[in-house]
Symmetry: C2
Subunit: 359 residues, 2 copies
């Protein structure tokens, strides 16, 4: 186990007066042990305790030969493994559990009185994961470098008549060649009016002159996600206003990014971008929050929205992704990942944002 990360979670638990927690979120187990295991319907659980008596519970069907830095407790499908789990918890203290722990695992622990109370303490892991350490930052930088290079490859595919689905279908191979390890989310490829449909699934729409284009893509690298959006025009700009829309979104993106430093309220970033878009007359066409935290999951806990008054901290990584979507017409979104540094911010995506009319 990564001691620094474990101590971070235990520290947050201590602030809540909690001495023990069962972690069932496979991403948090990966965060602590470096081992990702999709448990499917089975139990894969890490028990942590302020007293250092940590254990990981692994079904024999999973192949986990490596040393995880924590004692393994093996069980098989026919074992009474929930009773087993209950033997390790402290029945005289409350027990933290993950928000996504399944009823089938939680109810037997409650019925078995394995703790004095059961409390959703996911936030303790969420808060720890929201502050990336040096190793995580390096992986996130590299994941975004691959993403920048992938965008360059995708742009080369954009020719008259190619469909959204064909472009989206090529992304997996591009990542593979560049060293990416699969998607952090399914690629979004939108042409023309489809750009204005929230999370439109790539279909057989062909690319044609005058279309706006949105490409929103992300890969994984050693478990860490990238996520970037660029928008283009194809062959020509149909209306002068399309240029104004692009410039407005770009200004919103760059103004919010310029503001990032430790100790600023996340809502302040959203407001800065939103004010620019609203002043340009498109407040209602910016239909979502400015961004979301990202790391081992594409959408980690935490967002960049008007509702989030929390302060940024060095090591936070989140997206800045303003957009304007004009129904039945066109849409533009420009998204980067931003890392909060000790003194300011590092924008992890370097792919250019200048208005580009693809030939």
């Amino acid at each position: 186990m990564n001691k620094q990360r474990l101590d971070s979670i235990l520290g947050h638990l201590a602030e809540q007066g909690i001495t023990q927690m069962i972690i069932t979120d496979p991403y948090t187990i990966f965060y602590l042990t470096g081992r990702y295991q999709d448990p499917g319907e089975r139990l894969f659980a890490l028990y942590i305790n302020q007293n250092g008596q940590n254990r990981i519970f692994i079904n024999e069907l999973f192949t986990v030969p490596e040393d995880l830095g924590v004692e393994k407790v093996w069980f098989c499908d026919t074992d009474d493994y929930l009773h087993l789990l209950g033997k390790y918890t402290d029945p005289t203290a409350p027990l933290g559990v993950d928000k996504t722990m399944h009823a089938r695992f939680l109810l037997p622990l409650i019925d078995g009185k394995c703790a004095t109370a059961f409390i959703n303490t996911s936030i303790c892991a969420d808060e720890a994961r929201a502050v990336k350490d040096a190793e995580e930052i390096e992986l996130m930088r590299h994941s975004s470098r691959i993403n920048d290079a992938a965008m360059g490859e995708i742009v080369k595919l954009l020719t008259t008549g190619i469909t959204e689905r064909e472009v989206a279908g090529a992304v997996a191979g591009i990542y593979r060649k560049l060293g990416g390890e699969g998607f952090s989310f399914d690629p979004l490829v939108e042409f023309g009016p489809n750009c204005a449909i929230g999370h439109h699934t790539p279909d057989d729409t062909p690319l044609k002159e005058g279309d706006s284009i949105i490409i929103d893509i992300g890969c994984r690298y050693h478990g860490y996600c990238s996520d970037m959006t660029r928008s283009f025009f194809y062959k020509k700009i149909l209306k002068e206003n399309d240029r104004f829309v692009y410039d407005t979104v770009k200004q919103a993106n760059e103004s919010a990014e310029a503001l990032i430093r430790p100790g600023i309220q996340l809502c302040e970033l959203d407001k800065t971008a939103r004010d620019i878009i609203t002043k340009a007359g498109y407040g209602k066409e910016f239909t979502h929050r400015l961004g979301h935290f990202i790391g081992i999951e594409d959408h980690d806990y935490g967002d960049v929205s008007l509702a989030n008054t929390a302060l940024t901290r060095p090591g936070n990584v989140f997206s800045i992704e303003p957009g304007i979507y004009i129904p039945n017409d066109m849409g533009i979104r420009i998204e980067d990942l931003a890392l909060v540094t000790e003194n300011g911010a590092e924008i992890l995506n370097k792919y250019p944002k200048e208005l580009t009319i693809l030939e």
Copy 2:
């Protein structure tokens, strides 16, 4: 809501003495209402009660305009929706919940004393879903018809040097053309020694003369899954024993299928297939259970294994998929879906099983 299906679940609950249940499994909600909604991290819940006071709880972010045959209770992210849910439950009776209900939803209901006890009653929905009605059977037949046709298209792609990944990559388009609605699981395409690796992910291995080939594919049709495996040889059979292995698996598949009728123990089917393979000397090389139930999910509750002594019932649909896997050499699996009828069985897959050497 589908009254017959609701009554089936309520009947199973009544047998346990349970009057009320909160269903959060989106597939069971689909089963009852015809509406599938991926809830992501949000609550999407159906409350059912023997007294008929049913309600469905929907976040305003989900677009559900249609009549679901049950009163809708809308809420938004900032509402205290768990308190809202608690207003509808009967606090004087136990409450059934789904096995996968998340702690974040379950713990507040427990803390709010919304029921006298909280019980995992997923089995009641599982048992109902295990007996398909006429409408479901028609959809499953069609899903498997599409799957049969897809196998025919895939076989045409198998030429020297094509990679597993290229073949797997073509399956989505084939289903689309045939009217399938996406995968019920990611296609498995295995050549030569890869056939002996359990759930090998398609990679850049090229097809070559003498290879055994396993194609294990499934699509969805109106929400219902298909799942079939066929095995082939490419250009020639390297060893006479490969033919024996194929014939053994085929005999195991056909013998088990010939036995299917209402009222037979599921373990009996597994034993029949396993005995044939064991007698042929490959008992250790048949490394998994004979089959699994299938319906709205590729792996529904229930399996065809030595451990399952339950009796078949008309309307059950499960896979029969014996295999022999010889490490570093080759592998064969032959899988059909079987429907238990009033008098016997209907095999939903018609794609031929004769040993085929592809040219």
